[in-house]
Symmetry: C2
Subunit: 79 residues, 2 copies
DNA sequence: GTGTAGACTGAAGTCGACC
DNA sequence: CGGTCGACTTCAGTCTACA
């Protein structure tokens, strides 16, 4: 699957695990709520800085975040 | 240290390990050579896609790349 | 082989509003 | 709570050229 889609899935997965809303994640990270929405639906490719910030507030390491994205990209889920 | 600086150091480190020039890395990744130069000196914050592409051609996993960046950022080397 | 400069295009990220 | 729209600003990434 595509990189942006994988990034979106990983964010949404960990956000729901943490049981917080997009509003709350936006507040924590300092990013706009509409931007979080765009990311989760794979409509934006974030910068490395964005990944570090979001991963931090989702309580996972940036490397683990990227690794999960990598596995999704490598897999052929949904094509 | 700052994120951009860490990214630059990790790219340069692995590029020299691979014994290739900025020209060659630019050719392999499809990015502009001046952009590679900007990245290595910490003057740009790349997107996740850029990291995946560069890490691939430096023969390391994106997660390992990010982990090395993370360690540099966490350390207080050069400030 | 690398740093840098400037001018450019497209995409990241903001903000307010509405469904 | 989350999706979306439009208009906006900032910055990633291109390209040419020269030290």
């Amino acid at each position: 699957m595509k990189l942006e889609q994988a990034v979106g899935l990983v964010i949404r997965k960990h956000r729901t695990v943490e049981k917080i809303s997009q509003f709350k994640l936006a507040e924590l990270t300092g990013y706009d709520r509409s931007f979080i929405s765009l990311l989760e639906r794979g409509h934006r490719v974030p910068t490395v800085k964005t990944i570090f910030t979001i991963a931090y507030h989702l309580n996972i390491s940036p490397a683990q975040f990227i690794d999960e994205v990598h596995q999704l990209v490598e897999s052929d889920i949904m094509e």
